[in-house]
Subunit: 352 residues, 2 copies
DNA sequence: CTGAAAGCGCTTACAG
DNA sequence: CTGAAAGCGCTTACAG
């Protein structure tokens, strides 16, 4: 690689040392704000740094200390607003902790994920936070896990792995949402979106079933309509549900984008969401409150979870971690208009 | 920082050299796939690498060659789906070019941007791609620009800077969209969203005015309703427009999220978008086609633009660049239902 | 085709 | 309180 045009040898601590009339050890010490250095000396060095436009070479320091301040941030799908929000939460926390994030968007590609994991290791990242691509196996992570490189998994569990995990409490979040629908008078409630191969879907479905079973309501497989966890998937899933013998009066969706896709498909058929039918999502992405009608959903506290994952990783890097941690963040039901709560009397819905 | 638990000194090229019975120079050469090395020797070295589980230390190599493969990727607002898509385009291209992205989301904070720029320089990034935070001045970038560090600005121009720029042709994109609205019979067309302090808004407005002026239509300041470039801003802007003496029959919006916010606000008032009124956006984010009704918009080819910016940066890093480049990507009008094109006869609209 | 040597820019005991 | 020395893991002319 060519040197930047016009630049000669960059200035280093020895240049500073010479200019300030001290040794490079002393310069290094002032750079670390060591209390050992006399104020007068420190100022002299700082002046030289200023005058020569010195820029600290962190790469050199890393080689010497055999440690870097990089953390790998591997996101399964950055185009998905939920994961974009997660990324923002992680990124912000990483900087605050004095680290710097190397990004990789795997786009759900396990092979790309494997490559990126190897590359990050070569760059000497201090640790990795990863929302695993769909289909990631514990086996494929074993090479990197634990001893080799601190790592925390977030948002999607990988079964059988012994890596720390941070994510929302999907089961209780879904249960609470469905209980709300039941309280509103709904009896035929379907689950929309995702596939049973996804741990997150299974967790949310079990919350749904908890609530239905507890209320003595039907909750068999015919009430779950699987689809891709996307807006288009949401459309397809509702459309399938509309063809069923007993049409649901409400839907709990795998996530917000499924719910949004579903509500639009419903609207196009003249079915008024929040009145003719209830729809609730999961995640509370920014878009949810701006949907028409505003979406009732389960707030996963996505950003905070990202920040939490960063802190768990730090504990692991610093060796202050209890080793293996699993954290299931509490969720919060956010009632807006799509479930009909705000302007539909319960009575109407019971007869639905 | 503590060493990872349980690990001792990591294996280096000298370990490999010893195991393979060669010098470390030879090991280095096989790592670079040098043709100088005899096949038999290469295999022996590769076997040792495999057996000892050697991992290449890129940091050390960087120190030696005084160059890294990092590129800084500074995004003004990753929560905005438009910029998330840009980030995905850049990230993908960076990896393909053999580089690795360090991410920073400035969240429109110029101070954070300044910090991040300094930090990235200390990490020795080979270059930077940045969508500048609102309010970024050429002055604030001067310290980093050009000689110090290759840098390309994307999506938002910073006036007075001499940095390379890559973005969509906002003016012609907006003009084309408005021409389409005029062809549909609209006469009172308002511009919604953004502020005149944003170069992008000014460029899009000038395209709007070009089209209006050419058709001999009114296009004064009273037809532009400024707001934050967000969904909430879109709501506010349409609401303001609804209070004006002569209500517009169509809207060209600063971007898609403004258009989406506006269409939802309209829908809530019983105004049917695509029938009672036309709405067109700009960007073509993923959400646009899933809006209700699907949004007519201007495709900015966001991902491709991100990839292009990465390539411009590479040329600069490798010194093969013509120095300063400005690229205005062509746009494409995507006609869906929000403008009324697909199912509203022109006649109805003229009388509106 | 391969090896010995120098050096990239730092940090960190160790002396003094 | 400050300096001299060693060394982190590579690459790259230069010899041979």
């Amino acid at each position: 690689m060519a040197e930047p045009r016009g630049s000669r040898r960059p200035t280093t601590i020895v240049d500073i040392a010479r200019a300030a009339g001290v040794s490079k050890s002393t310069v290094s010490l002032v750079l670390k704000a060591s209390p050992l250095i006399k104020a007068e000396t420190r100022e002299r060095v700082e002046r030289a740094i200023e005058q020569l436009g010195y820029v600290y070479n962190r790469g050199a320091a890393s080689l010497r200390t055999a440690s870097t301040s990089f953390v790998g941030m591997i996101i399964s799908d950055l185009m998905n607003p939920f994961f974009a929000e997660l990324a923002v939460g992680i990124e912000d926390a990483i900087y605050k902790l004095g680290y710097v994030p190397i990004l990789a968007n795997t786009n759900e590609d396990a092979e790309r994920q494997a490559n990126v994991l190897k590359t990050m290791r070569e760059y000497g990242v201090a640790g990795i936070i990863m929302s695993p691509a769909r289909g990631t196996t514990a086996w494929s992570l074993a090479e990197f896990a634990g001893v080799t490189m601190p790592m925390v998994i977030t948002m999607r569990r990988v079964e059988g792995s012994e890596l720390s995990y941070v994510g929302p409490d999907n089961r209780s979040g879904a249960r609470e949402a469905v209980e709300h629908l039941i309280r509103l008078g709904h009896r035929d409630i379907a689950f929309l979106g995702g596939f049973a191969t996804m741990t997150t879907q299974r967790e949310r479905i079990s919350g749904y079933r908890d609530a239905m079973a507890h209320a003595g309501l039907r909750h068999d497989d015919e009430l779950v309509f699987e689809s891709m966890p996307t807006r288009a998937g949401g459309r397809e899933a509702v459309e399938a549900s509309l063809k069923s013998a007993r049409r649901p009066t409400a839907y709990i969706c795998y996530n917000d984008i499924v719910a949004i896709g579903a509500s639009h498909a419903l609207a196009e058929r003249g079915i008024v969401v929040g009145k003719d039918v209830g729809v609730v999502g999961f995640d509370d992405i920014a878009e949810a409150q701006h949907n028409a009608p505003p979406l009732t959903t389960v707030d996963a506290h996505t950003k905070a979870l990202g920040a939490y994952a960063a802190n768990v990783l730090m504990a692991q890097i610093n060796g202050t971690s209890p080793g293996f941690v699993e954290y299931f963040g509490s969720t919060k039901l956010v009632i807006r208009q799509s479930c009909g709560a705000s302007h539909v009397p319960v009575r109407e819905r019971i007869s639905a």
